[in-house]
């Protein structure tokens, strides 16, 4: 009981001193905005506090540092003054390290740092807890001032709770310092007081805003291009197309994923249809199964899977084994002539991968060749729309070769349909 009474007394004095320090430090510079105080101490401020219009945020223990980061981003001219206890080095330790490391603009007072330094788990000695003595003797100290110094905090200082004037000046100095400042508040008479270290590095959000300003100026023109692309009218009048399912299945490295997106944009943006596109992709290096599904129609597409495709493109034997039966009775299957050995009944065999290598030097355009094949057998998407879509989706240097690959697929499939393809 004695301990508790003593603790209450010490704390009451501390709250009054802190309120005096805040109001005094805030009043040093009339041109500066009043600070916003974030604290983990429910005792601050007293309800009848009638000083300047300083607002208090009483955040969850340790989390005030995170809250202050968002506040600093939103209110660049308002000093963020954090008053924390041991929670700064326990729950808040991770936030603390990163806020200092990023030099985010705020001033953190850690109370009774000589106590919190010694006992990271609790702001007061709980001598009657049996395990506490041993824990205290095993643990190393959490040393926030040394930590902040090593992370090049903008300023690190120590003030005494018994020297209100000096502490107020340290707080004022910290609020005028750009970046993260830490002040250890002690009642230990033996420790050195005043500014312990300084580093002159740019404040995080000041640097961010400066960079963003330059970025906005440099991309002003690009933004107009973005708006125009969205407004582009479909080249064709909306036709009455019932739900039309396309599936392309192969392996990673055949450009299947890109093909799905090119087809989706061609049908959606350039043919004026409603579309969806989804996929499951293997990596190019590992070559796992890769498939895309595009559904298009003149009504909104409610379900993006192609359980019964109208057009099915199979680029390898495994895909053929898995999906050959799924094609709609009225649908069309196209298989790679070299990689699918057992050609399903009614399917057209086109050397898709070979055409990709012939036109681009790599198998990666097999997906684009497939789109040419699809344009040849389906009236949902035209070769012209696919070309526009390729020009939109691919880097300029690859467009010509890919359009050649697209046309090769289209021509080869057309010949097969007429029955006179000779490879």
């Amino acid at each position: 009981m004695t301990n508790l009474v003593q603790k209450e007394t010490v704390y009451t004095d501390t709250w009054q001193t802190l309120m005096d320090v805040i109001t005094r430090a805030a009043s040093f510079d009339k041109n500066r905005k009043l600070p916003l105080v974030l604290t983990s101490l429910a005792e601050l401020p007293e309800e009848n506090f009638d000083g300047p219009a300083i607002s208090f945020i009483h955040g969850p223990p340790g989390r005030n540092i995170a809250l202050a980061i968002g506040l600093r981003a939103a209110l660049p001219d308002t000093p963020m003054l954090l008053i924390m206890n041991a929670d700064a080095v326990t729950l808040g330790m991770n936030h603390l390290i990163h806020a200092v490391r990023r030099n985010m603009g705020m001033t953190l007072l850690i109370l009774r740092s000589e106590v919190t330094d010694a006992i990271a788990l609790s702001p007061v000695k709980r001598t009657n807890w049996r395990s506490f003595g041993i824990q205290d003797s095993i643990e190393k100290r959490a040393t926030p001032l040394e930590l902040a110094t090593s992370l090049e905090a903008a300023s690190v200082s120590r003030g005494s709770i018994d020297n209100m004037e000096q502490l107020s000046e340290l707080v004022n100095d910290a609020m005028n310092t750009s970046g993260f400042s830490m002040i250890g508040v002690t009642s230990d008479k033996g420790l050195p007081l005043g500014v312990l270290s300084r580093a002159n590095l740019p404040e995080y959000f000041d640097s961010y805003r400066e960079w963003a300003e330059v970025l906005r100026r440099s991309i002003a023109n690009k933004n107009e291009v973005r708006a125009e692309a969205a407004e582009e009218k479909p080249t064709k009048q909306l036709r009455d197309i019932p739900r039309h399912e396309v599936r392309i299945a192969g392996i990673g490295g055949q450009g299947v994923k890109l093909a799905g997106s090119v087809l989706n944009i061609a049908a959606g943006t350039h043919e004026g249809l409603w579309t969806t596109q989804r996929g499951e992709y293997g990596s190019a290096t590992r070559g796992g199964p890769s498939l895309v599904e595009v559904v298009a129609g003149s009504k909104r597409i409610s379900y993006p899977r192609t359980d019964n495709p109208d057009v099915l493109v199979l680029l390898n034997q495994n895909s053929a084994n898995q999906f050959a039966d799924s094609v709609k009775p009225t649908g069309q299957t196209i298989v790679d002539a070299d990689h699918v050995k057992s050609v399903p009944k009614g399917a057209i065999a086109v050397p898709i991968v070979r055409l990709s290598i012939e036109n681009t030097g790599k198998p990666i355009a097999a997906g684009v060749v497939s789109l040419g094949c699809i344009a040849a057998v389906s009236d949902v998407v035209s070769l012209e729309s696919l070309k526009k879509s390729i020009a939109q989706k691919l880097p300029a240097k690859l467009v010509i070769k890919n359009i050649a690959a697209l046309e090769a697929g289209y021509t080869a499939t057309g010949k097969m349909l007429k029955g006179n393809y000779n490879g």
Partner: protein, 379 residues
């Protein structure tokens, strides 16, 4: 003239956020939500906003609360593991009535689970993840169009009712690419208003029934106290049970008195239905398809597609249970919404679940098979 654009679900969420006025994003990347962060890291600096990658999801949630108190509409995006870390500060935002949007693109859990696979397992976590009783709003998009439209709604609700809004997407819609219609300039955007009262009379946490007062931006002369402790109308902590009761009335009535505005759902072929599906999120896509396929076979199937998950559309579901003998709830969990439907059906309707959390999607065929079994059992 309408504008259309082909985009992925995560992209539509990011673009919806920009359209809604989101200007601050803090987050930690996690599959399958990462593209939301990636796109906002591009887009926010373009529109005068700020993007920060934080040290973890606890800090992300804290930072968006701070930015919102500073007057910026703010959001974070994550998936299950990160959503678990956000619960502490989420509760703080609920209790201190700070608007913000938390996007959770759900994947299979618990723990790191199946990182790339879709699930709908965080429904109850969205409702009760943070401790203590509390009202909450959660929306779930059933298409890429929904990703865009409902993200705008999420920001509007959060500002209008000064509450965090949880956006429960899933990997089915987030990775889907779809042509969508973009909002024109007439779309409703609820911006933060200035308080009508003078700073002397301003009560930031006024116990208004069925509404909230505008949150003043710090630095504009208004002074108030923000705390996670239960508080009076000025924000000062209190243990006075009368004031605490008034606080609860205010907190619940601001949501419950506005259900007409908050409860969003679509009714698909429900008017003459014999059997109803109740579905949401990515699973609603298969459910919609199942309705078309069933109708082709002459089965009168309808769908109640939920867009608002919390608060739950209790009256609508009660009526559904009264009208129909069979309700089927397909979902990628083991019955989190089904249990709500069962509670409301109160024995008046037979409620059947189709449930999985193995990374696979529920297909229209599975739904039709379940219906056929029910029809055989019923005949």
């Amino acid at each position: 003239m309408s504008k259309f654009e082909v985009m992925y679900g995560n992209q539509a969420i990011a673009e919806g956020a920009i359209k809604a006025g989101c200007r601050f994003y803090a987050g930690y990347p996690i599959t399958p939500s990462t593209e939301v962060a990636e796109i906002l890291s591009d887009r926010l600096p373009e529109v005068g906003g700020v993007f920060v990658q934080m040290e973890d999801e606890i800090a992300s949630m804290g930072a968006i609360i701070g930015a919102s108190l500073g007057g910026m509409k703010s959001a974070t995006a994550t998936s299950g593991p990160g959503f678990s870390l956000m619960q502490e500060n989420l509760g703080y935002a609920v209790g201190s009535e700070v608007p913000c949007v938390i996007i959770n693109v759900q994947r299979v859990g618990p723990s790191t689970g199946l990182p790339t696979k879709a699930a709908q397992g965080d429904i109850m976590q969205a409702r009760w993840g943070t401790h203590g009783d509390h009202p909450i709003i959660a929306l779930s998009p059933g298409s890429v169009q929904d990703c865009y439209d409902l993200t705008i709604k999420a920001f509007n609700f959060s500002e209008k009712y000064r509450t965090p809004v949880i956006f429960l997407a899933d990997a089915l819609v987030s990775s889907l690419e779809e042509k969508i219609e973009l909002a024109d300039d007439d779309v409703e955007i609820f911006d933060r208003r200035k308080p009508a009262e003078s700073p002397e009379d301003y009560k930031a946490f006024a116990f208004t029934k069925g509404g909230v007062v505008p949150l003043a931006t710090f630095g504009e002369g208004y002074r108030y106290h923000v705390t996670g402790l239960l508080h009076d109308e000025k924000g000062y902590p209190t243990e006075d049970s009368e004031i605490v009761s008034q606080w609860w009335d205010h907190m619940y009535s601001k949501i419950e008195d506005n259900l007409d505005d908050i409860l969003l759902y679509e009714e698909i072929e429900l008017d003459d239905a014999d059997i109803a599906l109740v579905a949401y999120g990515g699973t609603a896509m298969a459910a919609t398809r199942a309705v078309s396929l069933a109708r082709e076979k002459g089965i009168k199937l309808g769908l109640l597609k939920l867009q608002t998950i919390w608060p739950f559309p209790e009256e609508r579901v009660r009526k559904l249970a009264k009208d129909l003998n069979n309700i089927i709830v397909p979902e990628l969990n083991f019955g989190q919404i089904r249990s709500e439907v069962e509670r409301l059906a109160a024995g008046q309707s037979n409620v059947t679940g189709i449930n999985k959390a193995d990374g696979n999607q529920i297909t229209p065929d599975e739904i039709l098979t379940t219906i056929q079994k029910l029809m055989v059992a019923g005949s």
